[in-house]
Amino acid sequence: MTIERTPLLKVRDLTVTFGKGHHAVSAVAGVSFDIYEGETLGLVGESGCGKSTTGKALMKIVEPTSGTIDLEGVEVTKLRGRDLRNARTRMQMIFQDPISSLNPRRRVKDIVAEPLDCWKSVAGDERAAIVSKLLNEVGIDPFVYGNRFARQFSGGQCQRISIARSLAMRPKMLICDEMVSALDVSVQAQILNLLSDLKDEYGLTLLFIAHDLAVVKNVSDRVAVMYLGKICEVGPSDVLYDAPAHPYTKFLLGAALEADPDAPTHGEVLQGEPPSPINPPSGCRFRTRCPLAQERCASEEPVLSDIAPGHQVACHFPLISRRD
């Protein structure tokens, strides 16, 4: 079990608030999780739940308002300047839109070499050799395509180039923010298979952020479900998908569509839409849409606690009974 291992990344009470006073939006409202070395943690939730902001806060692309982020014993939130740049070589991010994350007017080999050039770590033949190796590994022939411009590539190929670039500094950890949601299914499968190969080869630890439940299950060892800035359930992916403990997780899974005409007809559909994060409901944030909500849910906020080994839920009335 992963529990025995030390976490590579420890996140505690992370909050990100945009704006001030009455207009303050707490996009991430106190999120804690661990990611163990070599595992993939999936982060799912609907749009606006704060999953991308969480990913960006880990990279300090957006400044965390409070909380701690501990990467291999280094407290990332306090880092500035060169130390921060140093830490970022160990943690890299891949973004949703592959085409706009590459400069259309730069050559592929220069894009991939950019991190190396920034650090001036290698030059000349060694640099060229590293770039060729990276491009080969993501399935792009460096001799045929290395000198082409990023604008000449399709979305799937651009995502391959982004992956090669993110691996240039040999990071320990990759944050993948909706990296396949802009791609067609046939290309999406190619990229997911590639990611799984590279993860083994480079010994990567992944935080995989996506809204597509089937994709998240496919890549993740453990899955965390977010709703309105908070994590409502974390557990091993097979367990969480088979027997969700939080009512929200159950609805989310019930809404996922199965490509099978004989699939059981859709269960209860979640009514309404998520409330505004400017003025979140008191107590449990899901209570306004939850069919099981009672008075206690409005007065007392449920905290994330163990329901089974490695499986935590933040709910007063979980769908499965607690066991130790």
Binding site: E46, V185, V219, S220, G254, D260, H266
Partner: protein
């Protein structure tokens, strides 16, 4: 039922664009038909021509650099080669369309209520008050809470799911017999997607409409359509009843599409069957089967000669393939 009783009969329809790099056959020789109160799914990856097909059926092509041949009979009215003024007689009442992006299909500086009753006032010559009352009724029909208040809202004040409901209400304003929904839920969250798809299903029954549901997601069409069409590179490669296409698929592309998408029910880290390569460039199509370069069972013949749609043993099920998959025995439930 004879051909003339059908709501929609498309015959040998082709749409070709003239581009700087050459002629681009976005839709090639497509025939299909649709009965009253039926839901047809059109499935394909981006660039397969599904949206162009829908727009051609509606008669919404650009005015220049496009050539449309074949015939589209909608309720007995020919939609190909007629003037826009004539087509306008059928828009709204015979056919209406819901587009993919609910933000860009609404006017951001016009109150949503006015966008709905515009159709009623212009097309149905309804007086202003009656149109307003009907628009509020439509907002209620598509499940928008407090419709009187929402009537005065601007699109920017509504969420994506609510905006898509408004777009559906606009499409339903003149009680169309056919609703074409082009990726109506792409870009929406899964829980909202389920709400919108249920709404379309429910409205279809209530208003006795027929629906054409266009999507890239096989999960969307699996339980909500009676027949589906699978498109690849502008052509129909397989068509049949939804159960036949899913359970007795003959075209390797259909299987590849199904197997390449991850499933919620399969265990974590299941290796996906990716389709190698990518869809062909339509300007420069290979002479044979368009899928041949990516197909595992392609032979010499596939690269040289284009297969035509061929009817399978089950009526209504057709596929275009020289080396079809073997027929699987009917799955025991």
């Amino acid at each position: 039922m004879s051909e003339t009783d059908r709501l929609l009969v498309v015959e040998d329809l082709s749409t070709t664009f003239t581009t700087p790099s050459g002629r681009l056959p976005a839709v090639s020789h497509i025939s299909l038909s649709l009965d009253q109160n039926e839901t047809l799914g059109i499935v394909g990856e981006s660039g397969s021509g599904k949206t162009v097909l829908a727009r051609t059926i509606m008669g919404l092509q650009p005015r220049t650099n496009v050539e449309v041949t074949g015939s589209v009979l909608l309720n007995g009215h020919q939609m190909v080669g007629v003037s826009e003024a004539e087509k306008r007689n059928y828009w709204g009442t015979d056919v209406a369309m819901v587009f993919q992006d609910p933000m860009t299909s609404l006017n951001p500086v016009m109150r949503v209520g006015r966008q709905i009753d515009e159709a009623l006032r212009v097309r149905m010559n309804m007086p202003k008050d009656a149109a307003r009352a009907r628009a509020i009724e439509l907002l209620e029909l598509v499940g928008i809470p407090s419709p009187e208040r929402r009537y005065r809202a601007y699109p920017g004040q509504l969420s994506g799911g609510m905006r898509q409901r408004v777009v559906i209400a606009t499409a339903l304003a003149c009680s169309p017999q056919l609703l074409i929904a082009d990726e109506p839920t792409t870009g929406l969250d899964v829980t909202i997607q389920a709400q919108i798809l249920n709404l379309i299903d429910e409205l279809k029954e209530r208003l006795h409409m027929s629906v054409v549901l266009i999507t890239h997601d096989l999960g969307v069409v699996a339980t909500r359509t009676s027949r589906i069409i699978v498109m690849y590179a502008g052509r129909v490669v397989e068509t049949g009843s939804t159960r036949d296409v899913f359970h007795r698929m003959r075209m390797p592309y259909t299987r590849a599409l199904l197997e390449s998408s991850p499933k919620v029910t399969s265990p974590s880290h299941t290796r996906l069957h990716a389709i190698p390569g990518r869809p062909p460039n339509l300007v420069n199509l290979p002479p044979g089967c368009s899928f041949a370069p990516r197909c595992a069972s392609a032979t010499q013949r596939c690269h040289e000669e284009r297969p035509e749609l061929e009817v399978d043993s089950t009526p209504g099920h057709a596929f275009a393939c020289w080396n079809p998959l073997p027929i699987r025995p009917e799955r025991v439930a």
